[in-house]
């Protein structure tokens, strides 16, 4: 058999050619076939309305303009909404809307406070309870796990309506609960609190912009929101290899150190996107505010998105509402971008 003498790194360098545009289009075809159905429906039912909304935001769009139809030239002259440039945005930002108690910057401040307070509680509670239930020695942990998803499993809107009724000043469960407590241990909590009417802030100083109603909706939304974070944390906890704890305890780490040095860093990569998503959802948590506090007292528990809805539902100011949505979008976009930079700087830990 012939021995072919070959130098170890001989061999011609192949010539590269980038695949031509045509080839790339060809190889993209299967992919696009798979995407087409979803893309089509989203194009028409989601993207197009968004673009239309962009258009509306620069016009004074009112009820009569709903007859305006791009496809029907007859409607153009009669129903086309007047173009107003940035007027809607200016009115939103400079509080020139004819809504009672409207103040954009207060709304924004409240919306951010609302989001931060919620996320802090959701994450803290969710992680704490996931941690407690992660220990194999805890009795009945399967039962607790099943019970604790109930708030998540209950349709959010039913839950919101339920909480609204729980806060009823005369017949609601919360005031009645205080009654029961008073009877049992002889305290004298008020049992006729009008949760969404009192405008006196329970905590003064820096937090005096938060009425009692804020704490009431916050409680309801904590009830609703923590199980999601708990489930994500549970998933992350279950994927931590046991050997890591064993190694840590051999290294002499105490329980507390293990938590800080092993557990928390390792569930972080899962929690960060969950927190991002949770932030977006909470920032736009429509049903809780809309049903429970309805923005009361005096619009001080209104968030941007409920205010936008009221512009449509009560005042029929479609153009202003569209501009409102765009403002909300940009706030969330900047949050995501900032957050992305922060998380990228502290990349995920490899296990």
């Amino acid at each position: 058999m012939a021995v072919r003498p070959v130098a170890a790194d001989a061999g011609p360098k192949p010539v590269f050619k980038r695949p031509s545009l045509r080839e790339r289009i060809k190889s993209s075809r299967t992919a696009w076939l798979y995407i087409a159905p979803a893309a089509l429906i989203m194009l028409f039912v989601t993207l197009f309305p968004y673009i239309y909304q962009l258009f509306m935001a620069f016009t004074d769009y009112r009820v009569r303009n709903l007859r305006f139809n791009l496809l029907n030239p007859e409607t153009w002259a009669r129903y086309a909404p007047p173009f107003v440039g940035l007027d809607n945005f200016v009115r939103i930002l400079t509080n020139q809307l004819t809504i009672e108690n409207y103040d954009f910057w207060r709304l924004l401040l409240f919306n951010i406070t609302w989001t931060v307070a919620n996320i802090v509680f959701h994450v803290a509670l969710g992680v704490l309870i996931a941690l407690v239930l992660n220990s194999k020695t805890v009795l009945l942990r399967r039962v607790y796990r099943a019970l604790f998803v109930l708030p998540w499993a209950m349709p959010g809107y039913v839950a919101a309506l339920t909480w609204r009724n729980m806060y009823d000043d005369r017949f609601g469960a919360i005031n009645q609960l205080f009654g029961v407590i008073n009877r049992l241990i002889g305290t004298s909590f008020p049992t006729d609190t009008r949760w969404f009417v009192i405008s006196e802030p329970p905590i003064g100083g820096l937090l005096s912009f938060l009425p009692l109603a804020f704490y009431a909706v916050l409680l309801a939304n904590i009830w609703l929101g923590w199980p999601f974070m708990s489930v994500v944390a549970t998933g992350a906890l279950q994927s931590i290899p046991k050997e890591l704890y064993e190694a840590a305890s051999i290294d002499g780490a105490s329980g507390w150190q293990q938590l800080r040095k092993v557990t928390l860093p390792l569930i972080r990569p899962a929690m960060v996107p969950a927190i991002m998503l949770g932030t977006i959802w909470t920032f736009n948590q429509f049903s809780v505010i809309y049903f429970i506090s309805q923005g009361n007292p005096f619009g001080r528990t209104e968030i941007l998105i409920t205010q936008a809805y009221k512009l449509v539902a009560e005042q029929r100011l479609y153009g202003v509402a569209a501009a409102f949505s765009i403002v909300v979008f940009f706030i969330l976009l900047s949050f995501t971008l900032i957050n992305n930079r922060v998380t990228r700087a502290t990349e995920a830990y490899d296990v």
Binding site: P37, P151, Y157, A321
Partner: protein
């Protein structure tokens, strides 16, 4: 302190804590149950009792079999009012339609994003993240206009249940695609390659390998999209004209906000509406932890 005693004390402390959490979790739920059982026809719960005196299932009977007198084609004629059965049928149609569309369209698109490298992939993923962020409230008007233009037979798509299904699933798709893609990414590519060599087509590997292995993520998609269709009512309230199309969510909404809330009926209705979701949730519970791909966690 002995190790055993320490363990017992720890267990007691943990159990106390968990019981407290359980009490808080169950309080609203038990309250609704007790309201629903309240037999007094006075509409107003007066005190906190788990089983009110003389508890009965009357309010369930009323909700289930009597017409909803606010959802009528002709308010003067009770025969034209919707009953629970009709509402349930509409809700099921909308919820099942939404989840079917979300699963089929979501998984095919997610598959492409997970497995192919193609022109527009990056842009597409960015698009979904943006979509998840955009508030939908402002879309009410443009969507109303748009769906009114499209006609099926003699009526606009807007006023049909199918119109709702399309709107809901489309709104849910960005999250569905994002989540499913994350899960598909964790299925080893070699499994697909083995199937390709075994003789499967691209579609064959998708249907026979990827989908069966992604049951958890599909379950999460089904659950969430079903829930969207089942509970959404703002679009439904705005778009639907004909009471015979109304859904349970709309009926529940109609019970609220009158001067006198019919407490017992409201509670019974809440329970009836929550039950299917809770059951679905428990059926799919073992998939939920692993099926959410947030952060690339795989159970």
């Amino acid at each position: 302190m002995s190790k055993k005693l320490k363990g017992v004390l720890r267990q007691i402390a943990i159990q106390l804590f968990l019981l407290l959490v359980t009490a808080m979790v169950l309080f609203p739920i038990l309250w609704v149950v007790s309201l629903a059982l309240d037999p007094r026809d006075i509409d107003k719960p007066l005190e906190l009792r788990l089983i009110p005196p003389g508890a009965s299932l009357q309010s369930f009977r009323k909700v289930l079999f009597e017409p909803f007198n606010l959802l009528c084609r002709d308010p003067s004629n009770p025969a034209t009012c919707m009953k629970f059965g009709g509402l349930l049928r509409n809700s099921l149609l909308v919820a099942l339609g939404t989840s079917l569309l979300a699963v089929v369209l979501g998984s095919t698109a997610a598959y492409a994003f997970s497995r192919f490298r193609f022109i527009g992939r990056q842009a597409g993923m960015l698009f979904f993240i943006v979509m998840i962020m955009l508030p939908t409230t402002g879309l009410l008007a443009p969507l109303y206009v748009l769906l009114s233009q499209i006609r099926i037979g003699s009526e606009p798509l807007r006023a049909s249940l199918f119109g709702l299904v399309v709107a809901y699933s489309s709104g849910f798709l960005p999250f569905a695609i994002w989540n499913l893609k994350g899960y598909f990414d964790t299925v080893p590519k070699e499994l697909e390659e083995a199937a390709l060599i075994d003789g499967a087509s691209v579609t064959g590997t998708f249907v026979k390998i990827i989908l069966p292995l992604s049951v958890p993520a599909l379950a999460v998609t089904v659950l969430n999209s079903f829930m969207t269709g089942w509970t959404e009512f703002i679009l439904a309230w705005t778009f639907l004209d004909n009471p015979s199309r109304f859904t349970l969510a709309m009926a529940l909404r109609s019970m609220q906000g009158q001067f006198a809330t019919p407490w017992s009926e409201f509670a019974a209705m809440s329970i009836l509406m929550s039950l299917p979701i809770v059951i679905l949730f428990f059926l799919l519970q073992r998939y939920i932890v692993s099926g959410l791909t947030i952060g690339g966690v795989k159970g």
